[in-house]
């Protein structure tokens, strides 16, 4: 089995209103249940907005924390799901379901270690 991260990229900006978001969240919950039943679920969660991020760097001998994300962009990583499946085709299939539900592009990224 292999581990894959499904990285969901979303545009920066306002969150959609509840009447749009709620049905999506419900479907996302269902797909999580399916993944769990298939024993493919490892972990998954959405991120807060990048404005909640803090970056830590080494400056000389000090470690300095600064407010904000590592890079500013039009899109940011909105959430990740980690799955354990047979191969890329299976991972792409699950990713496709996430993409259909959210309408967002999903990056399928293999982990170096086996699942």
């Amino acid at each position: 089995m292999k581990l894959y991260a499904l990285n969901m990229f979303q545009p920066v900006g306002e969150r959609p209103p509840p009447e749009v978001l709620d049905p999506i969240m419900k479907e996302l919950f269902e797909i999580r249940r399916e993944l769990e039943m298939a024993e493919s679920w490892v972990f998954g969660a959405g991120f807060h907005e990048p404005s909640a991020s803090t970056v830590v760097r080494v400056r000389g001998s000090d470690v300095v924390a600064t407010d904000g994300p590592y890079t500013e962009g039009k899109e940011h990583l909105g959430g990740i799901t980690i799955i354990k499946v047979q191969d890329l085709d299976e991972a792409l299939e699950w990713a496709g379901q996430y993409a259909r539900i959210t309408g967002l592009p999903i990056e399928v990224r293999p982990f170096q270690s086996e699942g």
Partner: protein, 395 residues
């Protein structure tokens, strides 16, 4: 050379079997390469073995096991598994694993150019240098592209199998697109490049393999028929370095055998009644293969093609048929509405229509626009000839 010919033919099958057994494209490819080196040494002395494929696979398998034993860290488990699986192959019955290999090489997770290179390398058995030369890129660039591709297959976990029924149409489409790209590259680049591998012939060879492995896929057969029918006209298309348009070609120079084979596949496709873009294009070329051309039938086929794959290029080709059925003025109206000004054929077709309605000055401009967009010498000579012609005629 005999060894080389046989080897190229059996390369895909050998690599495919070894990938299956060792689970690693790189190990498989290197082992088959070693087996080839051994064949070059031994076959001329010992004679070609009765089952070249079996010989290559047995030899390559031994080499792969040796290599994995040396690289004990990751190898021991795999090498032992392969040893347990049994060293002796029944040399008469080599399993045909090529279909898996083809689907892996043409996986949509790989970039299209990479799919092409990987398919020619692993399934087609072309050397990296040959592929690099065929696509006019430095050998080092091509080698790097192939290494990256093999790494991605391993790291991303691209599976080594035939896709499920549900995914099959899309995935077959990706395989066909790869073969068609190889063929088109060969078609476009034929002139004056005698040292290049004949990519058209390679694409047809791979198309035949695919047709043998998936004989019930109409589009697989459609693409093979299309390539055969187009390839059959290769000697008539260029005479003495001059490009000859289809209408002016000498049918005596067409390859009858390829044409008949192509036509018989088209007839088989028609009986299936599951048309697709490749089958329709093959049918169009089948009609062209029986002069005088029945342009009404061609136009009907282009109508069908526009319905399944709409787009400006199909519309442009359809306009050529319209010119024959309804006249160049009507066709010109269709062509002028298309937005494909970066496409050389757009200007060439438009120029021809302008010439035929007597608007020679505009025709000359359009021929010049076409000239700027092609680097193919035969095409350029043809266009320069036409420019002289319309300039002399004036108007």
């Amino acid at each position: 050379m005999e060894v080389e010919r046989v080897f190229r033919r059996e390369h895909g099958r050998a690599v495919a079997v070894l990938v299956r057994e060792f689970g690693d494209v790189d190990v498989a490819e290197e082992a088959v390469q070693d087996a080839f080196a051994e064949a070059v040494r031994r076959w001329p002395v010992d004679g070609t073995p009765p089952s070249p494929a079996g010989w290559i696979i047995t030899t390559a398998r031994r080499r792969a096991i040796d290599r994995l034993r040396r690289e004990a860290v990751r190898g021991r488990k795999q090498a032992e598994a392969a040893l347990v699986a049994g060293e002796a192959v029944d040399e008469g019955a080599v399993p045909d694993e090529r279909l898996r290999l083809i689907f892996t090489c043409c996986h949509p997770a790989l970039a299209p150019a990479t799919r092409v290179a990987l398919t020619l390398r692993l399934v087609g058995g072309l050397s990296t240098a040959e592929i690099a030369h065929a696509f006019l890129v430095p050998e080092a660039t091509m080698a790097q592209r192939l290494v990256r591709a093999k790494n991605k297959i391993r790291d991303a976990g691209i599976p080594y199998r035939v896709p499920r029924e549900a995914d099959l149409p899309g995935r077959v489409g990706s395989v066909l697109a790869v073969l068609y790209l190889v063929f088109s590259e060969g078609y476009r680049a034929r002139e004056g490049e005698l040292t290049r591998v004949d990519l058209c012939a390679e694409a047809i060879r791979l198309g035949r393999v695919l047709a043998e492995l998936m004989p019930d896929e109409p589009e697989v057969m459609g693409l093979l028929a299309l390539m055969l029918l187009v390839h059959a006209r290769r000697d008539a298309r260029e005479v003495g370095g001059e490009l000859v348009l289809l209408a002016d070609q000498d049918p005596g120079l067409w390859d009858r055998k390829l044409m008949e084979e192509g036509r018989s596949i088209v007839r088989r496709c028609l009986r299936w009644g599951r048309p697709g873009p490749y089958q329709i294009q093959a049918a169009i070329n089948a009609v062209h293969s029986e002069p005088p051309t029945d342009w009404r039938q061609i136009l009907a086929l282009y109508d069908q093609l526009s319905a399944v794959t709409p787009g400006p290029v199909v519309a442009l080709n359809r306009a050529v048929a319209v010119a024959e059925v309804e006249g160049p003025a009507v066709a010109l109206g269709l062509v002028d509405g298309l937005e494909i000004e970066r496409f050389y054929l757009f200007h060439a077709v438009r120029a021809d229509l302008l010439r035929r309605v007597g608007r020679n000055a505009e025709a000359a401009d359009a021929y010049r626009a076409a000239l700027d967009l092609t680097e193919n010498e035969a095409e350029r000579r043809f266009l320069r000839g036409r420019i002289r012609e319309v300039t002399r005629a004036g108007g």
